[in-house]
Assembly symmetry: C2
């Protein structure tokens, strides 16, 4: 793992393609942006693209591939979206029906792939400015929660916003807002600070996705919109099929993190 | 006109609807954002929405209406997009076939309306910071040019970027870049500064849309991506039908300019 921290995205995508790497991608290819994946058939793609336009905080689009095309030409030349993610999830009519290391046998010519920005980019900016990120220290996945904040619906798609949570020392909360505000293409500023109950989170120790992390006494839980939102939307709106990444197992692009900052 | 400078957007949309106002909208409803219009049939809407995603500088989307819906619910509640613009243009297979004061008789249930951000928003920020805007001083329309900068294609849509030009005193060019960079949802930072020939403009005194303006000796021409780009794209890609605003005759939204700044 350690040797992949400074590897090139093309090299790591190649390892993943050959099943030589299948873990979470946090901390890999430092300096490069990673992305969330949503694949839908073309007849649902307009509604979903409109959904991303209306909900840019959970769903900031980095690239939409041409219909049927497995390469992300703009953000990862030479990539193959059917093989280059360590773990995929398949949702059929809203049910998670399986996790796979590739989706070659499931691929259809009418599939459209959406790559959405991922908070790994702003986590690296937070750490650069001296704000530690708990789940990275703990070596686990970020805790994610389904909230009571409804997305703006579009066509068949509607559902709750999923958020990720990072505990921030109380004297660094403003700084964390300022830093992440500069990254609207990877979820941007927090959507909530301080009171999980107000956004419908009953038990902060039981995330809906990822792993629970400790919140220390001098820390405040800070919540950002999360690219897992489409998975909660799929569970609610039950499209025929939606293929996504498995949380934490992201698509590694050739885009530098700093290219996404403002 | 003068009395409309501080009128509410809903009031002015009402006057336009009743054909009691039919002029250009520059300087009207100060403080409120105006928008460019593109209407396309649903079967072309996915390609165009993807085109806007790939070309956010000329085509920053403020709102996409639901299919067949004439109200822009999010940016102008109570509006009617078929009547609330002073002058419409209809392009059929790439040909401008007419200008109309409303499009009620042309409306179809499969029409999708796109509202794109307009540079009037950043012009007001430029003036607030002491940078005069020549075409506003001169009381004419901004000069617009078809360039050699190709947009990123999407589906059937491709074509050149259209830019607007404002002469800026040489010692204020940096400031103009800084100010407009804060407004990515209304075209953002300039796409070119200084040499029109390099972006394929042969004669700065003969704009493709709008009116020519004087460039004084101590001034540099500064170019921003322009929401008239879809009209140049329609001329090139010849969709069955595209309805737009007539340049300078915009859709006045209820969104405050400052809501679009960062």
């Amino acid at each position: 793992m350690k040797d992949l921290a400074y590897a090139s995205p093309a090299l790591v995508r190649g390892l993943i393609r050959k099943d030589e790497f299948s873990g979470q991608t946090s901390g890999i290819c430092r300096g490069y942006a990673q992305g969330n994946l949503v694949i839908l058939p073309k007849h649902l793609a307009y509604d979903f693209l409109l959904f991303t336009q209306r909900n840019p905080k959970p769903c900031p689009v980095l690239e939409v591939a041409d219909t049927g095309c497995r390469e992300l030409k703009l953000t990862a030349a030479g990539s193959d979206i059917a093989t280059d993610i360590p773990k995929y999830r398949v949702y059929e009519k809203g049910e998670l029906t399986g996790e796979f290391s590739d989706i070659v046998s499931l691929w259809r010519e009418d599939f459209v792939s959406f790559i959405l920005g991922c908070s790994f980019t702003f986590e690296s900016a937070l750490m650069d400015e001296g704000i530690e990120v708990r789940h990275i220290q703990a070596g686990c996945n970020v805790p994610m929660y389904i909230t009571n904040m409804e997305c703006s619906p579009a066509g068949i798609f509607s559902g709750p916003t999923v958020v990720s949570m990072r505990p921030v020392p109380v004297d660094k909360v403003v700084k964390a807002v300022q830093i992440t505000s500069r990254y609207p293409r990877v979820h941007g500023a927090p959507v909530h600070i301080g009171n999980p109950a107000l956004i419908g989170i009953r038990n902060i120790n039981k995330p809906d996705f990822g792993d629970a992390v400790e919140i220390k006494e001098n820390e405040v839980p800070v919540f950002w919109a999360c690219g897992v939102t489409p998975q909660a939307v799929a569970m609610k709106t039950k499209p025929e099929i939606m293929i996504t990444h498995s949380p934490g197992h992201m698509f590694i692009t050739d885009v530098k993190n700093h290219e996404l900052g403002e």
